[in-house]
Point group: C3
Chain length 392, copies 3
């Protein structure tokens, strides 16, 4: 008989419904941490770009040359016009403002500024595009908008090596679906971090992997994860559970019997299957709304085949995603009712308890440093059993 789990209750409603709290969380988690922005392989040619919008910013992620991808503020240095109005595409050799034609090279330097020649002391080199830091891990790109970031590796809690066998660096996007979910971003992470809901919410998943087969790793600050075992005779997570393509080349046989689920705060959910990898990238849009980009990554040997077809994996997860978003939305509605009172977590929701502790720790740290000058680094926190309380 295992030890009893401590009784811990969920957070007060304001953490999920208050606009002010939401704005603070953007500061704590999205402006002071490395934020996932997508796959470097998507930007293969010089000038390839995508636009992402973290925490009230708009950033252009662009391949500057063979070596480098850069992240620039999508705002002209002249009078502030948005430079790029589309989500993705390929620039020629420059980025030009649609209003007065200020023109920037792909490395952000200002190369032309019509009509500024007579302005006293004006020098083009003083007005490059604002650049944000960009780093990559196994092909995943992250940006940082703060002044003094720690290393990406530190934020990943040195779990960056953990998935080397999957060779993520090589993988390419085989499909992408964008979801608009009427729920707070933290509820998405909650939902991802436990499978107690799986028997009722995901009958199809339950046939492929038993919800009690999950083993969580000890949580690291900023990294919450574990793995679930595929049932006997099941090859991967797909509509029929059969493996229709080769396992990823670096995997051990034992690794092919599990699916690994890891949440990397603040916004990357990484799901590793024997034959493909899935990422969810979370973009909080308001306290009660989150945009979620779901991408399915495959080995290039697979995508290069004439009859490559990712539908078995995509259809399974699209169904599962929608089931999850539905209960997250119902929870968001319930939390908005004055009748909500924080309730007790089950011992199968231990990662949620860890996550709530990080939220509270960030809040305490912000209270100690109201000007937000210290970079936020999630830390191990211990504390009383009850992380929430009954007030709102």
């Amino acid at each position: 008989m295992p030890d009893p789990a401590p009784r811990v209750i969920s957070l007060p409603a304001r953490y999920y419904t208050s606009h002010e709290h939401y704005e603070r969380e953007l500061d704590w988690f999205f402006r002071r941490m490395w934020v996932h922005v997508g796959r470097e392989k998507d930007l293969s040619r010089r000038g390839d770009f995508k636009v992402v919008s973290p925490a009230g910013e708009s950033l252009i992620i662009v391949r500057e040359d063979e070596e480098r991808v850069g992240a620039f503020s999508n705002v002209c240095r002249h009078r502030g016009t948005r430079l790029c109005a589309v989500d993705s595409g390929t620039f020629g050799s420059t980025i030009q403002c649609p209003y007065h034609a200020w023109t920037y090279a792909l490395d952000g330097t200002l190369s032309a500024a019509p009509g500024m020649d007579r302005v006293e002391g004006f020098q083009r080199e003083d007005y490059p595009l604002s650049r944000a830091r960009l780093a990559t891990w196994d092909g995943h790109m992250f940006i940082h908008m703060g002044d003094s970031p720690g290393s990406l590796a530190t934020q990943l809690a040195n779990r960056d090596a953990l998935f080397r066998d999957w060779g993520m660096n090589e993988l390419v996007v085989g499909n992408r679906i964008v979801y608009d979910v009427a729920a707070n971003w933290k509820l998405i992470i909650h939902n991802y971090s436990e499978c107690l809901h799986c028997p009722g919410v995901h009958p199809a998943l339950q046939k492929l992997s038993h919800y009690l087969s999950g083993e969580n790793e000890p949580a690291e600050p900023g990294v919450l994860g574990g793995r679930m075992r595929l049932r006997d005779g099941i090859g991967t997570l797909s509509m029929d559970g059969r493996l229709k393509r080769a396992c990823l080349p670096g995997l051990e046989p034992e690794e092919c019997r599990f699916v690994y689920f890891y949440a990397f705060l603040p916004n990357l959910l990484l799901s590793l299957h024997p034959d493909y990898v899935m990422t969810h990238t979370l973009w909080p849009r308001s306290v009660g709304r989150t945009e979620i980009v779901c991408e399915w990554l495959f080995h290039p040997r697979e995508t290069a085949q004439d009859d490559f077809n990712p539908d078995d994996a995509v259809a399974f997860w699209d169904l599962t995603n929608r089931q999850d978003w539905h209960v997250c939305e119902e929870m968001q509605i319930g939390l908005g009712s004055r009748g909500y009172r924080p309730g007790p977590y089950s011992h199968r929701e231990e990662l949620l308890v860890e996550f709530d502790r990080l939220i509270l720790a960030a809040e305490r740290m912000a209270a100690d440093d109201p000007h937000g000058r210290e970079p936020y680094v999630p830390r191990h926190v211990t504390g009383p059993g009850n992380v929430g309380d009954n007030d709102r």
Copy 2:
């Protein structure tokens, strides 16, 4: 020649346009008074339920057994998910949360909580659904969300006996229309409480009952009403004024010559005709928006007939309702203009003056008791002629 009426002016615009004022009114009137939620006869079988949403709450009204109808918070005690996403229906023997399958009996007790068995000190009896008080009057159900309510009879100013002859307890809903009106909830009550507007706004009504035939009863706190005489040859309020069904069995002949209009604060408008009763239930949704549920109640002997047809009454009032909502919406727009200045009430708007005084009295009482611990009971108030002033 009657005595002159004192000159009283209407309330400042903020009472109808300020979000903060609206939120306070929800406290004064909807969280500290008995609130009408509909007809008990609608929930005849065990498990029959409806969901209502007073003042930011969501409540399930459910028949627990033959004897009892209960009101429960529509929020799971586990993590706050909304339990029930539909407006009405019939539960089996339990209410189950869609997320982690916490399951409640119809009396609100928690009967199953998967995965909680190892949580220290967890006992199911500690987590029943939150219950609100529910009381009925002649078949009308009312709920109370506060801690120390007075009796429903007190709130009804002992007018509960006044309409015994109509036998409302027996009546059943023959039709229901839900309106979404872009006007403050108080303007709906204003509109209901005077017929000075009838000649211009309701030409069809004017043919059935002369607007000057109205006689108001002395207002009681929380109860504003009176009656209007049907014109000679007119049997009821309907498209052609003819009585197409029997008068309600308990009525005296004299009572069949009038229509009785009573506003029971905060949200029930009760209109009693010789052959049917109509209720409007008001649900404030924002400072400038009110949802209104209009129900037509008939004697079960009528609804049981094969050729039962409520259209004469429904069509007449649907027309009249829409005329009323239109002028209420035009008034809401006007009050939102900076050009509005409070103006003088006519002596035919005396109930509006009483109603405004209740609003002001509630405001004063709230100022005296900022923590809102005292139950609000509308009281007779006397005061200066001018209830409003010119500031905003």
Copy 3:
């Protein structure tokens, strides 16, 4: 080689994105200045009216008699109902409230108030419609909602005589288009006040008038303008540049070689062409939204002709307008990004610098007079080069 222009940077983002700042600007510019409301010629017959909505007010502009056009609050003095729900039309001899039939003469006096006869001390003469001041200049009507306006001529900086040759008093509206633009009202004025953007944004305009042909007049407080020369062989601004109707009769040949562009603060943009005049009337609707009424005015000798056709002028400017609104909207989006930093104006944006100085001067004056009792009169301001700063 001309003198260098001082380096001046644009305003912080809050001037374009903060709701609070927007509300203050409505006070400074729309409630304390004369505001353009349209053409008097549009209201030629007794009872002709239009409804305009400046700064949270709703006003009826109505021809009272042959001599006089009046501006009245569109709100009944009884209980505040909106009097008139349509944009324009013709009243009979009265204005009647749709709710309780209070009835006003066209001069705003209350002529009937049903049911008020018994109200103590009530006198109809105490409740006329609230009147705002109205003045006209060359057929353009302006209203003023404040208590102590200066003269309209003063606000026009005595530029009222400047355009006498165009005989605007006689002109009539030949076409009207209303635009809803997702940009702050000041960005529309910025856009109108420089042609540095013309080569890239308006290729069709560039073929008719070279963007460097512009000559700005020294700015007067509240009046920013200049003129641009038509290219050789070009007769007017139209799709093909050909003059299809007579020049306005009072013009000198030299005046026919230019187009004059003048912004009269707060909300009239006046564009004078050899053969027609165009006005843009700006109606701020929120901090990020402006409704713009564009009217094309022609000589009555032209509009009286059977084959009168304004399409050449309308199509040209509708295209040019839409190009302008697009870049204004892109600028509004960019200013809403946290990545925006004020940038340097070119020496071809000198009128924008003047305009920004007026904004800052109004802000300073409001700080000195927080109760806003002094009428705001734009004044010449000198100051440091940098009108903006880097904070938000």
